[in-house]
Amino acid sequence: MCRIGALKSLTPLAPKSALELMLPQQEGHDSSGFAMIMQDLHGAFAHDKEKPLLSMACTVRGLALVNEYMDQHGFAQLGQWVPDVCKDKKLNLHAMPRYVFRNYDYPEIFHYRSQAEREDLLMDTRLALRDLLHRENAGFVYSFWPDVLTLKEIGDPADIATYFGLWDENCRLRAKNIVVQCRQNTNYDIVRYAAHPFFLQGFTLCANGENTFFTRNREFQKSLYRGYMGFESDSQTLLYTLHYVLRELKWPLPYFKHVITPLPYEEQKTRQDADVLLLIRESLANLEINGPNTMIALLPDKTMINCCDAKKLRPCVIGRDEEMVVIASEVSGLNALLPKRDITCDIYPSERELVAIDDNLEITRWIQ
């Protein structure tokens, strides 16, 4: 089972905190990898936060292809962070030749376009780069979005951290939000695209468990939106559902929970909003999840959320102190990172609960 976690802090955190959260949960690690998405960046990317940041791993040839594509399409490179990698051969990881974390300025014409058009441009560019690299077997592109950085690699999480220098307290990668995963549990091969967290247009999501309705989720989503693709992991569909409910349908956040784990019909019928809930269930029956899953997500407005399946077969636990709120799939991670917290304030979300943490670390618990 995947180990997942997330940190939301008033002050920027280095990846070391995420590692301290995750490694105590390492029982069962199979060296399948480490992945994290950081949002609200500081350190190396404290400036140009509104400019899209490209995160990818590729070959030398892949880098040349991407450079050529970005030039041709009018993107001008601004800053970048190049990891000072540790090339110790004893490290257990499948390193790629090049890692790219750089932000770009928009093509000139997009300075005059709407926000929606820019967001479409960024997704289409990422998909085009992904396709380009895939065709040439030259690398992987994870995210291309302002103020968001993705790092993923296959191998032992501690060794991956050593390779990228993530143990360093002074690491120049810093963010107020980190969503992290160790040990990807996928239905398919261990591949980089299958490693969550996943990202799409400002939405980040990671999940553990087994989405038993993956097939029907995927078959429905494939024709719903062009950005819903890949499907290397059964958890990806949860990200797409989140994106569809909040961004495409523009429904309030609680309806995400209603879509993925609808109330039983007999219960729905007795509610005052039965007409709305039944309609939603009818139309989006194919987005229901019906297996054991818990998910942690980060929204474009930096709200962090957590909820689980309707039978609470895969819960998470949420702990906090004055400075940060932490979510972990195993409580051992929380104990390691926040040993002095008041454990009586820990939150074990119920199967009908959605927990949202805003930028001031205010926690809202919403019952379905």
Binding site: N185, G209, E210, T212, F213, F214, T215, R216, E219, F220, K222, S223, L224, Y244, E248, L249, K250, W251, P252, L253, P254, Y255, P262, P264, Y265, D273, D275, V276, L278, L279, I280, E282, S283, L284, A285, N286, E288, N290, G291, P292, A310, K311, L313
Partner: protein
């Protein structure tokens, strides 16, 4: 050597021969009295002997015995009622492997019968297994403890971005009306009319339906069939459990429409019947012998053989079907009642379904597909045995066609035709749901639960004659008396309760608590061609 006329019939030419043991017979007469086909009678052994021989025998030795008739109008159909009533196990019918029956009776026109296709075909569903079991990656559920949410839609489902919803603070609220959708149990009692069935048999099914709804909490729906509905039901609350059928004969609809102002509740739905799987492309046929006085009253017809045409007169295309029938029936019930359509499965089903999915009025509330293993009360044998399309691949084709367009689930797919014919209705239903069905409908199986003795190996199948020996498909009041309505209804209720339990027993190991519609990854097949065709995993 004696002369012989080979055109003369003997018992051994027939499909069923009576195995009679005079030594066990107590001469009670029950078998002779209960044979509705008059296929057996009492004779004296004296009469069985040639005249001279009989004279020379001592009359004191003569015995009364049961004799099978070889008269083509009084053929034994193997129903076995004689065996049921015999107190001493002295008589029973046996299938005759040397039968010449297909060559007999040719002057009566093409053979007709009821029942199912009689070629006992191999079924696709029997080569499919639920192969994706929750083991370690996720926990299986407990069929006894967990809450299962077994409901299926009947009605037109809108795409999420077409829903009449508006955001109000942190909530959504309705801002306009929308097509009606009923969430019902994923098993519908299929359309069998009053007329094809005896009123008592129809009543037994209706009683079972009401009991399941009111006492068991299972919202099972029953389809009326094309034969009208009793007035007292039309004006009762129990109409809510009934899907009214309109077929090409429109039988009974004058009375249904006249009852509209008096209805206390809406019916569960309206089903437009275009065709049925057992005799696709053929219309209905009710022999005059079954059109008794109460059938005449309920259908508004004189006593005559009733033919429903093979198509709806005046409908020549899907567009017309949608515009005329769907719209007018939606309108008749104020757009509050789902209107669905039933077709025989065919090579053209995907085209029909695609057209319905594109319906601009969004008023088609369900596509009922009926496969070739379905039953009927009367059809030409050639149609029963040789026409039709298996349901499984056609359902899958329709589901995949909708999926390719992102329209799956918008017009619910209900399938039938042979569900449970090998005894495992829940397994059949579960597999079909995984392949894309929202629910299933059963008809013939209900008759079997009520006591029908017919089968796909030529036993009985005399539904069309009005002489149904079990009182199910006849209007002969003496035969109808044989049916115990309460026990029949109880049997159906028990079947549905077991079906529900078995469905949970299949859902639990795959880790699902709601219906896994389209979850084809849960299935495997040990037949390569079937796996390929249905796009499921092959396993061996």
């Amino acid at each position: 050597m004696d002369t012989v006329n080979v055109q003369d019939l003997s018992v051994n030419d027939l499909a069923w021969v009576i195995d009679y043991h005079a030594d066990l017979c107590v001469l009670c007469g029950a078998c002779v009295a209960s044979c509705s086909f008059q296929a057996i009678s009492f004779v004296s052994t004296q009469k069985l002997l040639p005249k001279q021989t009989a004279k020379s025998r001592n009359k004191g030795n003569q015995k009364i015995v049961v004799k099978q008739s070889a008269d083509p109008t009084k053929l034994c159909c193997g129903c076995g009622i004689c065996e049921k009533v015999c107190p001493s196990r002295a008589i029973r019918p046996i299938a005759n492997t040397h039968s010449r029956e297909h060559c007999l009776n040719q002057s009566q026109g093409p053979k007709r019968r009821g029942g199912r296709g009689n070629l006992a075909k191999k079924r696709t569903l029997d080569a499919i297994f639920v192969g994706r079991i929750s083991q370690m990656t996720d926990p299986p559920l407990d069929a006894e403890r967990h809450t299962f949410d077994l409901r299926a839609p009947l009605g037109r489902v809108l795409a999420a971005d077409k829903l009449p919803l508006e955001v109000s603070g942190q909530s959504l609220r309705l801002k306009a009306s929308h097509p009606p959708v009923a969430w019902i149990y994923p098993l519908i009692f299929s359309d069998m009319s009053i007329g094809a069935l005896s009123t008592r048999a129809w009543e037994a099914i209706a009683i079972a339906t009401a009991y399941l709804n009111e006492e068991c909490g299972l919202p099972v729906r029953m389809c009326s069939g094309e034969g009208g509905v009793p007035q007292n039901l039309l004006t009762s609350d129990k109409l809510a459990y009934m899907i009214l059928q309109i077929a090409s004969g429109h039988f009974g609809w004058n009375r249904i429409l006249r009852a509209l102002p008096k209805m206390r509740t809406d019916p569960a739905g309206v089903l437009i019947k275009i065709g049925q799987g057992a005799k696709p492309g053929d219309g209905g046929w009710l022999a005059a012998s079954k059109v008794s006085r109460h059938i005449q009253a309920i259908r508004g017809v004189p006593q005559t053989t009733l033919h429903s045409p093979p198509n709806h007169q005046g409908l020549y295309s899907i567009e017309e079907s949608v515009q005329k029938m769907h719209l007018s029936l939606n309108q008749a019930f104020g757009f509050r009642v789902p209107v669905a359509i039933k077709c025989a499965a065919s090579s053209t089903s995907v085209a029909v379904y695609n057209n319905l999915l594109r319906d601009p009025y969004q008023i088609c509330g369900g596509f009922f597909l009926d496969g070739l293993d379905g039953g009927t009360g009367a059809a030409n044998t050639v149609a029963l045995n040789h026409t039709g399309h298996p349901i499984t691949s056609k359902l899958r084709d329709c589901y995949k066609a909708a999926t390719a367009q992102g329209l799956q689930g918008q017009i619910p797919l209900w399938v039938g035709g042979g569900i449970g014919m090998h005894g495992d209705a829940a397994a059949d239903a579960f597999k079909l749901i995984c392949l894309g069905a929202n629910g299933v409908f059963v008809g013939r199986m209900l008759l079997e639960l009520l006591g029908c003795v017919g089968n796909a190996y030529g036993r009985c199948n005399q539904c069309h004659t009005g002489k149904c020996p079990t009182g199910l498909c006849t209007q002969d009041l003496r035969l109808v008396q044989r049916l115990d309505v309460d026990r029949g209804a109880e049997n159906i209720v028990n079947f549905v309760l077991n079906f529900d339990q078995e469905l949970r027993k299949l859902l639990a190991p795959v880790g699902n608590s709601s219906l896994p519609v389209g979850r084809s990854d849960a299935l495997i097949s040990n037949d390569w061609a079937i796996a390929q065709s249905l796009d499921i995993a092959f396993a061996c």
